[in-house]
């Protein structure tokens, strides 16, 4: 009796209050807005539209893995000692008891075996790092093959490229921190590469390691880079990368109602905020699941670093594999001594080749923009088949990278497929040099063939499989016309034609013009024109 009475009175009281004053949320929101003017930003961002496609979420995966790395990395810094001072291990892992090692290795083992949850966090950190760079790689491939780097997004491609390089640097510095045998071997290779640079190599090596390798400095120095400098630059670049995504608006695939001027999709609030928030936890969950069940980098097996032993199966983490592979593929003994200086071509050639490859990736948007001479903005993505030369160049690049990458595991390929390691190396050497050309031609022909097929379907519809006998006795297969939405997808793409060589204002044809014309011919000589409106109309008149 009393309780209902009090409930009813309070309800009545509240009803009366609502009329007078606003809710607590509104008060809080108003408080913040009056002091920060944030409502403009929320209004702008909250109604920001993002298109829906699975491949648009790969960058998000990279971002979320990075957040996981930051969280777990912070935990690890609480316990890690970035020191190379020698200590004697006295922890619980029996096969290392009484072994002398650096404080770094000792603390990494402590994290693994003595800190509660330490091993799980270490494994999450490492698996997340592998996923971080893998998702960046996949994201870059998506951007490349769909032409999302075209104007106005060339700068953002460059920022993304720098993020990729920074991620590699983060990965490698992290891999080197525990000061176990594997990481020490990795550093020794870097030391060797640095020392291979003529004249300055030895000096630079001494500068990096603070004396002769391994010295007592390197772990501390890498730690500063790994947890301070590189993450700071990474976070700043990620912020810039995302600001550009907002400024440029997201690209979208051709489709009904989608034009260069609009973005069709869902708003950030509430749809994408919820989806992205949930997706973060899914990514975190997948990483945590892998980390709970699968060992990564068992430093306790590798033992402390000692410059004398090198284990069989010593490899870098996957993302440095292509560089390791390049060193394995270069024929041995390429050295010359000129005036008392040794030139190690077996180190210099891989460094130069990798440098050229990386630079091509960084500069490709500029090159393509110059060749096409296209100054328009592009917000509609290409289907890879509709840019055959670009797709073929991408396929060649992927093949080259894959060959180098595979070479890093040449010894394991040899043991697991019962081959001789020399045969594996020679096969991959051939694949690295011939493979890109083969991949280029196959990809280009496949793209052109698919374009032809698209054209055929747009004009004549698809084969329905229904055979009809006409009154005159003629048999025909009925072609089903595609619906309008599908046809829109098939016919809307840019057509480029090779540039004509034109004389400049002074009436001269410059060498640059010639190069550009030749490049343009290379890009666009073989092409399939998109179906035009008049072709479609003509077709619909005389169709069966």
């Amino acid at each position: 009796m009393t309780s209902t009475q009090s409930a009813s009175t309070s309800a009545a009281g509240r009803g009366g209050e609502v009329a007078k004053r606003r809710s607590a949320t509104a008060i809080a929101a108003n408080y913040i807005d009056e002091r920060t003017s944030i409502s403009g930003l929320v209004k702008e961002l909250g109604r920001k539209i993002f298109p829906d496609h699975w491949s648009f979420m790969l960058g998000e995966v990279a971002l979320y893995s990075f957040v996981v790395i930051l969280l777990t990395g912070t935990f690890l810094t609480f316990f890690f000692q970035a020191s190379m001072a020698p200590v004697t291990y006295s922890g619980p892992f029996v096969p290392l008891k009484g072994v002398e090692m650096s404080a770094a290795m000792d603390s990494a083992l402590k994290i693994s075996f003595e800190v509660r949850g330490g091993l799980l966090i270490r494994q999450i950190h490492h698996w997340a790092a592998l996923l971080f760079i893998a998702s960046i790689g996949l994201h870059m491939l998506r951007i490349f093959f769909t032409g999302a780097f075209r104007k106005p997004r060339e700068l953002n491609w460059t920022i993304g490229f720098l993020l990729f390089i920074l991620a590699l640097a983060e990965g490698f510095t992290g891999y080197s921190l525990p000061d176990d045998l594997l990481s020490g071997n990795g550093l020794r290779i870097i030391d060797g590469m640095v020392k291979g640079i003529p004249f300055v190599g030895t000096w630079i090596s001494y500068l990096i390691f603070g004396g002769e390798f391994p010295g007592e400095q390197i772990v501390g120095r890498l730690y500063t880079l790994h947890i301070l400098l590189l993450p700071a630059i990474l976070v700043a670049m990620i912020a810039l990368h995302l600001v550009f995504v907002v400024v440029h608006k997201h690209t979208q695939y051709a489709g009904a109602g989608k034009t260069n001027q609009n973005v069709i999709g869902y708003p950030v609030l509430p749809v994408y905020a919820a989806k992205a928030g949930g997706f973060f936890f899914i990514v975190f969950g997948v990483i945590a699941l892998i980390a709970s069940f699968f060992t990564i980098n068992p430093i306790w097996n590798y033992g402390p670093y000692d410059p004398s032993p090198v284990s069989a199966g010593t490899q870098p983490d996957w993302y440095i594999g292509f560089a390791d592979g390049a060193l394995r593929l270069i024929p041995p003994g390429l050295e010359s001594v000129i005036w008392g200086h040794t030139y190690s071509w077996n180190i210099l050639i891989p460094i130069v080749v990798l440098g050229l490859f990386i630079s091509t990736v960084a500069l490709y948007p500029l090159v393509e923009g110059w060749v096409t001479g296209d100054k328009r903005e592009h917000h509609i993505l290409d289907r890879p088949r509709n840019a055959p030369t670009r797709t073929a160049i991408g396929a060649a690049g992927v093949t080259f990278y894959a060959a180098l990458w595979a070479a890093a595991s040449s010894d394991l390929i040899a043991t697991h497929f019962q081959l001789s390691i020399e045969a594996v190396i020679h096969a991959i050497q051939a694949a690295a040099i011939l493979g890109p050309f083969i991949a280029y031609f196959i990809a280009k022909r496949v793209c052109l063939a698919l374009q032809k097929k698209d054209r055929e379907i747009a004009l004549h519809g698809f084969e329905s499989g229904r055979i009809v006998r006409l009154p005159g006795g003629e048999y025909i297969e009925v072609h089903q016309p595609v619906d309008e939405y599908e046809r829109w997808r098939l016919v809307s793409f840019n057509e480029y034609k090779p540039l004509m060589i034109r004389p400049n204002a002074k009436g001269k044809i410059t060498g640059t013009q010639r190069v550009r014309a030749r490049m343009s011919r290379w890009f666009f000589e073989d092409r399939i024109a998109p179906v035009t409106r008049s072709e479609l109309e003509r077709q619909s008149h005389d169709h069966h």
């Binding site: 790969l58 096969p95 996923l131 996957w318």
Partner: protein, 268 residues
């Protein structure tokens, strides 16, 4: 007083036995025990010799039938196979009881397979080979128990073995199709024998190089790895970053891409 005391025992002694008696007794005793002992040991050694010679005979027959084609009737070796003079019992035991010998097919190196002979036949074979010339013998049981120092063993393993066999004994590649095999599940005796005799492409780690106690330590470490699964979970073959990267790309990124497709799928 003095005189009487000295004279009395002398009289008594002379009355009881001759001075040579004790010497004779000792002589008889010595001869008796010596003779019996000689008799005993003579018959024992005759027995073992008989057993050994029987094993040797059986071994020589097995050798002639199964090994001599390549290794020669007098172990001298042929173009097909090396000489076995001085390889010792350990080498024969390792090669035959791991099935590497007799060779199934000529290739870069002999591969492990089920043993082709019984334990007794193997014993006959190595006894026969060891009887021809001395060499490393079957390891003593005291080194095979896996009760040495695992930490010392791990360190020795990293320095001497890991460059071919990998730090966790997962094996590795050598030149021209040869390889260092995986060491998980290999018996302590075979590990010891391999170190002592250097089968296939493996170098010999003799007792001056790695002492028997150190060999026992290495065995202890390998047995520790066998008995204790990786503290981090499934070890992906202990192959290092290659299997980790492969796993991440296929299952990690594969799962994530699956989720992205699910999240952006249109509701039907």
């Amino acid at each position: 007083m003095r005189k009487s005391t000295t004279s009395q025992p002398k009289v008594r002694k002379a009355g009881r036995r001759s001075p040579m008696a004790s010497v004779a007794l000792i002589m008889i005793g010595l001869f008796a025990t010596g003779g019996v002992y000689a008799l005993f040991t003579a018959s024992a050694s005759a027995n073992t010799t008989a057993a050994t010679s029987q094993l040797t005979t059986e071994g020589s027959k097995l050798f002639a039938a199964n090994c001599a084609t390549c290794h020669g009737l007098n172990l001298q070796g042929t173009k097909q196979g090396p000489s076995l003079i001085g390889v010792g019992a350990a080498s024969v035991d390792f090669q035959v009881s791991t099935g590497r010998m007799p060779l199934a097919a000529s290739g870069p190196q002999a591969e492990e397979k089920p043993a082709q002979f019984t334990t007794q036949q193997i014993q006959a074979l190595y006894t026969y080979v060891a009887a021809q010339a001395p060499g490393p013998g079957i390891p003593s049981k005291q080194y095979l128990g896996g009760n040495g120092n695992a930490a010392k063993g791990a360190e020795l393993f990293r320095i001497n073995c890991a460059m071919c066999h990998n730090v966790a004994g997962a094996g590795g590649a050598l030149t021209e199709g040869k390889f260092a095999p995986q060491l998980t599940g290999v018996s302590a005796k075979h590990i010891y024998e391999a170190m002592a005799t250097g089968p296939q492409n493996m170098p010999v780690f003799n007792d001056q190089n790695i002492t028997p106690t150190q060999k026992a330590d290495i065995i202890t470490y390998l047995k520790y790895l066998d008995k204790n699964p990786s503290p981090g979970g499934i070890d992906l073959g202990n192959l290092g970053p290659v299997s980790e990267g492969l796993f991440l790309w296929i299952f990690g990124l594969g799962a994530i891409v699956g989720v992205t497709i699910w999240l952006t799928a249109k509701a039907n």
